[in-house]
């Protein structure tokens, strides 16, 4: 019991089998799903079983001045899970229980390590769903998606993670455990702390329990795919659908480069030479309403010279979705490095943004395809490059900067759903200004004065106040 090493003290808290310190294990925690960001191995990985153990880990780390990096499944796309300044990776893989599905109150309470799809599996027998659906639903954890405020394909109609979080339990940097919110739809007691911690990227506290809202699963849906000879026709279709007062669950767009690449990669029968493709899905509880919405969509597509395919069965729906699903893997197959951005603009500027992204790709002589969520303005300009080619990587960085500038010029934002993390931190000031940065720092300093929690992410340093560096 006299082992005072970090590993020894962590083992005393969680048990020796739940602390990893060998380099071969640590290497596997030196990265997440983000390309082109630094890798760093932590000093230790610890897998606690409950909130009390987390409080003890926080107290130990604070006493020793060692940073803590909370980690779910490590599917982050902005470098948020990388242990940039070494220290402790706190993995939630053992805290993976669904504590309750409360069908009467339409809520679920989960530990942070629960995989999103597992919550949906547990809700399904009650006829309920948890709508936020990032591309990683089968792997990403609830804790990670709440900390990053994940979006997904259904954002337009169903919103994103922040619209579903009703309450939380959080361990603060001072070791305190706090609870707020709950199962009631209405709750104005105290500050709205859920809003503070959703999307805080692990920098303000460690989320240890989450209560979320569930909704009844839509019973009917219609899936359509439309291809266009011009981007403008596709953009006008998006605007036309909204003007017809239809809010599709899914309204996805692929640009010419993405369409060509998908067709060459997956042979899903897309017309060559198409400038844009829309995948549209309407859903709802009443068949008549869903059919009427589908009619409105079909009419709008025709008015804008789109070529329409309508799925008549689940198998045909899968075929239509195949193009969208193949977008990222197809683009990724073109080179060894995938720089996947998520710059977002108001819906009305989608056409301009798509045209601008393609122009930026040409300007810097890069392979760039754009796809994404046309319905909510959240695009994924995706650049494929060779990480071993310094000149090309430098052009990638310039292109990314110009994409951000363009999004901001159109009244948009740096990140729709991937987070700021390491990858976009240096651009933060250009969107929120110095006063915004100061507000961020004030909140960070108030809750985590020694920068114990996920340092080096989201909040740019005023000066070096990192713990343990």
């Amino acid at each position: 019991m006299s082992d005072t090493s970090l590993a020894g003290r962590l083992a005393a808290i969680v048990g020796a089998g739940h602390v990893l310190t060998h380099k071969v294990d640590l290497v596997a925690y030196s990265y997440d799903a983000t390309a082109d960001v630094p890798r760093q191995i932590p000093d230790a990985v610890v897998m606690p079983a409950n909130t009390d153990e987390i409080c003890k880990i926080v107290n130990l780390a604070r006493a020793r001045g060692i940073p803590i990096y909370p980690r779910g499944a490590g599917t982050n796309l902005s470098g948020g899970a990388i242990p940039l300044h070494r220290g402790i990776v706190l993995s939630f893989q053992r805290m993976n229980r669904i504590l309750e599905v409360d069908a009467e109150n339409l809520t679920a309470t989960v530990q942070p390590g629960v995989v999103i799809q597992e919550l949906n599996n547990a809700a399904a027998p009650h006829g309920l769903i948890y709508p936020p659906d990032p591309g990683t639903v089968n792997t990403a954890t609830m804790g990670g998606s709440v900390a990053e405020n994940s979006g997904g394909l259904r954002g337009l109609k169903y919103g994103v993670t922040k619209h579903y979080v009703m309450g939380m339990e959080v361990v603060l940097a001072n070791g305190d455990k706090v609870r707020f919110g709950g199962k009631t739809v209405k709750n104005v007691t105290a500050y709205d702390f859920s809003s503070l911690f959703v999307g805080s990227e692990g920098t303000l506290g460690i989320i240890t329990k989450i209560t979320v809202k569930l909704i009844p699963a839509p019973k009917f849906r219609r899936t359509m795919l439309a291809t266009y000879q011009t981007i403008e026709d596709a953009g006008n279709t998006v605007a036309g659908i909204i003007r017809a007062q239809v809010i599709p669950a899914t309204l996805e767009i692929l640009d010419r480069k993405t369409i060509e690449t998908v067709e060459a990669y997956a042979h899903v029968g897309l017309p060559t030479g198409a400038e844009a493709l829309l995948l549209i899905e309407v859903d709802g509880m009443a068949e008549a309403v869903v059919l009427a919405e589908a009619e409105a969509v079909i009419k709008t597509v025709a008015e804008n010279r789109g070529v329409l395919r309508l799925a008549k069965s689940d198998a045909e729906r899968d075929q239509l979705w195949a193009a969208r699903r193949a977008a990222l893997p197809a683009l990724a197959s073109l080179n060894n490095t995938v720089v996947l951005e998520d710059a977002t603009v108001p819906r009305s500027r989608i056409t301009e943004m798509l045209v601008a992204c393609a122009a930026i790709g040409r300007k810097y002589n890069l392979v760039l395809g754009t796809f994404g969520h046309a319905g909510d303005g959240n695009l994924h300009p995706t650049i494929l490059a060779d990480k071993n080619d310094a000149d090309e990587m430098s052009r990638v960085h310039q292109a990314v900067e110009e994409i951000f500038e363009t999004a901001l010029r159109f009244g948009g934002t740096l990140s729709g759903e991937h987070g700021i993390g390491i990858a976009k931190m240096k651009f933060l000031g250009s969107e929120i200004g110095e006063s915004g940065l100061n507000l961020m720092r004030s909140i960070k300093d108030a809750l985590d004065p020694t920068h114990l929690l996920n340092p080096g992410k989201l909040v740019p340093d005023r000066e070096a106040v990192h713990a343990g560096i």
Binding site: L20, H22, V24, V27, A28, A35, S91, N138, A332, N336
Partner: protein, 442 residues
């Protein structure tokens, strides 16, 4: 392949990985261990660290981590980038063996696998002596270690709870003639038995031959065939695997067989894919490997797609669920055909389990070298199978049969474990018996 080409092939496979982590959703080892070094993405990171010099291949922890994989290929089904993770795994293991040599025990066993007379002698001696070491378990037609040996064997996974099929005193290939002619034969095929059918499940092999006979297929069972090499290849011994591949191709030449038929996912995958990969640059054997690769079928595919098998009429009253062998489904892409066969059997009720293609945890010797993880993976499989209400778990691979036999018993279940071909054979047998009775009545 020259070292530089091998390095380039490895690097190109590693570069395909986006580190998205989709493999975490399906990796059986990760589902149990929850550590990122357990899953493909983590092992790719480790391989990259080895290449950059941050980790070394003679570090025992690195070796253990790279061997902590069933090579079940589940990750490859979920991978959006098409990373061929099995190739990464086999290349890293081959490099480990090249650098450090094989441990003496593996060296002795693998040496025996490539010397048929030695292997045959050892297996028969083992079968003759098994009564000393194992006790019969009459409930399961299986054996488990007697207590003193169970104590010794505990670290290697042979505790007294482990059930194992008894090694046959008369292996399959000793029991059947080399040629089994069929009257008005429709086709002539070679049966590649594999070691498991030969030494542990000769009755299943005989069932397979009976089914082919029922469908008027002439069968050659070449005496010179050897181990398919999969067990040695997954341990990094590519040289022995290559020797075995050449010997097996030699054994098939001159048989005049139109097709090679297998009843084991691992053996079938070896013929379908592995021999070509191993012998790709070989001027003599490369082309033969490719030829036989295109002419190898799992017996189910041969029956449903090539032969259009005769639908059996004998009733088999059983509730059956089917476990997809990883090598059969994920490598040979065979999963529809065994179900088609099972559904064709009168009286048989087929209930699908929730995750039929989740690995059973066998991984060949993985079940012995990684007892705790393998056992936890097996527990999930046993629970899933039991939840279907099935009285029989069918599968298409003898290695899975061994694992399912042990895990079903270990986790308190009672299902019988059978190869799907045995259920079809039983239906044909019942049909014959029924016809016999009717003939008598007339």
């Amino acid at each position: 392949m020259p070292a530089s080409e091998r390095e380039a092939a490895l690097q190109s496979e590693l570069d395909k990985c986006m580190h998205c982590g989709m493999c975490m959703a399906v990796c059986p080892v990760y589902a149990t261990e929850k550590s990122e070094a357990a899953v493909a993405r983590g092992k790719i990171g480790i391989a990259e660290a080895v290449i950059s010099g941050d980790l070394a291949l003679d570090d025992q922890e690195v070796i253990d981590t790279l061997f902590n994989c069933l090579v079940c290929k589940s990750c490859m089904q979920a991978c959006p980038s098409g990373v061929q993770f099995d190739r990464i795994m086999l290349e890293m293991r081959a490099q480990i063996v090249e650098k450090n040599g094989l441990p003496w025990l593996k060296s002795a066993i693998f040496g025996a696998l490539s010397r048929p007379a030695v292997l045959d002698g050892a297996m028969k001696a083992g079968a003759a002596l098994q009564g000393l070491v194992f006790r019969d378990d009459p409930r399961y037609r299986a054996i488990s270690p007697r207590s003193p040996f169970a104590f010794i064997g505990k670290r290697a996974g042979f505790d007294s709870d482990r059930l194992f099929p008894p090694p046959a005193t008369h292996p399959l290939r000793d029991r059947v003639p080399e040629v089994l002619p069929a009257p008005q034969a429709r086709m002539r095929v070679a049966f590649f038995t594999g070691c498991s059918f030969n030494y542990f499940y000769p009755e299943t092999g005989i069932d397979l031959l009976a089914v082919l006979a029922e469908n008027q297929v002439e069968v050659i069972v070449p005496k010179d065939q050897q181990c398919c090499g999969t067990p040695v290849l997954v341990h990094g011994d590519a040289a022995t695997a290559r020797t075995l591949a050449r010997n097996n191709i030699d054994a098939m030449e001159g048989t005049n067989a139109q097709y090679i038929i297998t009843g084991c996912g691992s053996c079938g995958s070896a013929w379908r894919h592995q021999f070509q990969q191993l012998l790709g640059g070989d001027p003599v054997y490369g082309e033969r490997a490719a030829y036989w690769g295109a002419h190898t079928y799992d017996v189910s595919t041969f029956l449903t797609d090539v032969l259009k098998f005769r639908v059996p009429r004998g009733r088999v009253e059983a509730v059956v669920t089917y476990h997809d062998s990883c090598h059969l489904k994920k490598s040979m892409k065979v999963f529809r055909e065994p179900r088609e066969i099972l559904r064709a059997i009168p009286g048989l009720i087929f209930n699908e389990m929730s995750k039929p293609d989740a690995c059973c945890g066998s991984g060949g010797s993985y079940s012995l070298t990684h007892i705790a993880t393998s056992s936890d993976i097996a527990r999930r499989k046993a629970e899933d199978a039991a939840a279907t209400g099935a009285s029989t778990v069918a599968t298409g691979c003898p290695a899975c049969m061994m694992q399912l036999l042990d895990s079903t018993h270990r986790f308190g279940r009672t299902q019988r474990i059978r190869h799907y071909i045995s259920l079809l054979a039983e239906s044909y047998r019942v049909e014959r018996e029924d016809e016999g009775k009717n003939d008598g009545a007339l």
